[in-house]
Amino acid sequence: MPEITLSTETKRLSYAEAVNHALRRALYERPETLLFGEDVAKPGGVFGVTKGLHREFGDRVFDTPISESAILGGAIGAAMFGRRPIAEIMWIDFSLVALDQLVNQAPNVRYVSRGAVTAPITVRTQAGNGPGACAQHSQNLEAFFAHVPGLRVGMPSTAQDAYDMLLSAVWCDDPVIVIENRTLYHGAKSDVRLGGEVEPIGGARVRRGGSDVTVVTWGAVQNLVLEAAEELAAEGIEAEVLDLRWLNPLDLAAVRDAVGRTRRLAVVHEAHTFGGFGAEVVGLVAESGADLLAPPLRIGAAPARIPSALSLVPGILPTREKIADGLRRLVRGEKAGDAGALR
């Protein structure tokens, strides 16, 4: 087995390769970890993310039947008895057939036993729309999970975060869901720092500085936000882009700081606007008494199921144009809110 060093090195990796490196390091450094799910072992994952890990770590990496309740419940039970399972749910949509294990079971283990037993599981999954995907393979359900006290929820959007946040999740003693995005897996490679200390979960990051408006965002849609911000920069509007990274724990201080500087707030997520986590961010900022120059703006998916046809999707999901338009109006003091959120 090749040595994995703790010393820091930098490699050019895709998002998928970064996840693979994190899993490999976790399996290597923490003998109590297990990795299992549908097609993860011998086939190396339907997206190739877990390639080579079964060969390297043997029975600690295994394929399961198509039984999400057994996967998640099995992870919880094993965690109660000293293992540190990393379970894959191939699509976040499939977590719904086993929601009981994530909502009624995992977060209660520590709470009810007053810490006598814990369930430090990591659930890796991926969410969001991709070309041609149907309504059952396109959803963004982070708000469901963020609504459940006791579950930690992270959404990495860069290769570095895919590596760092997954390790933070595995090292964390709580049940954690890391929601990846398949449209990011095999994109351009970037420099990823490997090794070094594993940071505790939490912490937002500023992706782009700007003084006119703070855009709080997370997940893959962030790339559209950054493109929209560049478009606006050419018009003299500077948007600050804050990647929340973790919805639980939420880095409210970073949000408040940023909004305190720009005094304008927009939240952009791919999930449905109505009942989305953006409402929580806006609500918390409002409660904190922030003195805003304009009403806050939420941009997310309009209320509909997600259709398969490419031409229908822009009628529902956020696009670069919708984001740029919304931010422009917000900064100019025009009405920017998405009235379509209520229907």
Partner: protein, 319 residues
């Protein structure tokens, strides 16, 4: 009892249509006209054609999976409406909302693909539940793969149907793989039909590459269910001769397996049988040519249809 030659010729033509449509879909997907994940059913046509031959589509209801193009075509969905659906065009059977893996065609007795493994089974039981009250004589068909038998919803559906004596036939398309993982890594007892007895319903296995055998076994299950005898499970042994999805390199297959599957595929087999029964080669060729023309004409029609209109994307959410 064996079916007569005209019946078999009908099976032959319908299986050819399914294969021809799947081949054209593969071409359109590879050319980039279609996008996303598409699951072809090539090699499994006999299951759909045989099973549907035993149904009365004016009242029965079929609930297939994401691998559902074959079920739809066997039920009579026009190929142009299927092509257009996968292309995301106005003329699609759901105007592009469903796509390859989640379209529905209730007007043809095809009550929707499902992209959640096993989710159609309890819904089929529900269609049968309605039948137990409405006097329609409807039989519901829940179709799913071998892998789906490891999903809790399927077990709940089978027990629910059995305990209430509901008119459902659970059709298992056993192609020996769950995506990229072989059945031996999924379950200890590969005789999936044996699970039926645990729920107190009959279960049986049939050669799923023989449409005639599937049709006759299915008739027995359907008649029994329609007559109030309750559900049954029919395991159809088959193999896909294509990847799980278009683009799947099938590295997981042992050497020679795919060649054996191709040699056993149902269309060539039926052609041999028909030839042995005295059908002339010309007659089979004429059917092949007719089907090929139909597929090409349907594909052209679908490609001529405009893209679905984004302004309609929010329609039909609520009553």
């Amino acid at each position: 009892m064996r079916s007569d030659t005209p019946t078999l010729l009908g099976h032959f033509e319908r299986m050819l249509l399914i294969r021809g449509v799947e081949d054209e879909i593969a071409r359109l997907r590879t050319a980039g006209d279609m996008v996303g994940s598409i699951h072809l059913c090539s090699g499994q046509e006999a299951v759909y054609v045989g099973a549907v031959a035993a149904l009365d589509l004016s009242r029965d209801a079929v609930f297939p999976t994401y691998r559902g193009h074959g079920w739809a075509l066997a039920c009579g969905v026009p190929p142009e409406a299927l092509f257009a659906e996968i292309l995301g065009r106005v003329a699609g059977i759901n105007g592009g909302r469903g796509g390859s893996a989640y379209f529905t065609a209730p007007e043809y007795g095809m009550y929707g693909e499902n992209s959640i493994v096993g989710a159609g089974a309890p819904i089929a039981a529900g269609a049968a539940l309605a039948a137990s009250f409405d006097g329609s004589g409807r039989v519901a068909v829940a179709a799913f793969g071998d892998g789906a038998l490891n999903q809790g919803a399927v077990h709940e559906a089978m027990n629910f149907a059995a305990v209430r004596g509901l008119p459902v036939v659970f059709v298992v398309e056993n192609n020996a793989y769950s995506e990229l993982t072989p059945i031996a890594d999924m379950t200890r007892n590969p005789e999936l039909f044996r699970r039926a007895s645990a729920y107190g319903m009959p279960g049986g296995r049939v050669d799923g590459n023989d449409p005639d055998a599937v049709a006759r076994a299915m008739e027995t299950c359907v008649e029994r269910a329609r007559g109030g005898g309750g559900p049954a499970l029919l395991e159809c042994m088959t193999q896909r001769i294509v990847g799980h999805y278009i683009g799947d390199a099938q590295h997981y297959r042992p050497a020679g397996e795919l060649d054996r599957a191709v040699a056993a595929e149902p269309i060539g087999r039926l052609a041999e049988r028909l030839t042995a029964e005295g059908v002339a080669a010309d007659e089979l060729d004429a059917i092949r040519a007719r089907v090929a023309d139909r597929v090409q004409a349907a594909s052209r029609l679908a490609l001529d249809s405009p893209p679905a209109d984004p302004a309609t994307a929010l329609e039909h959410l609520y009553a």
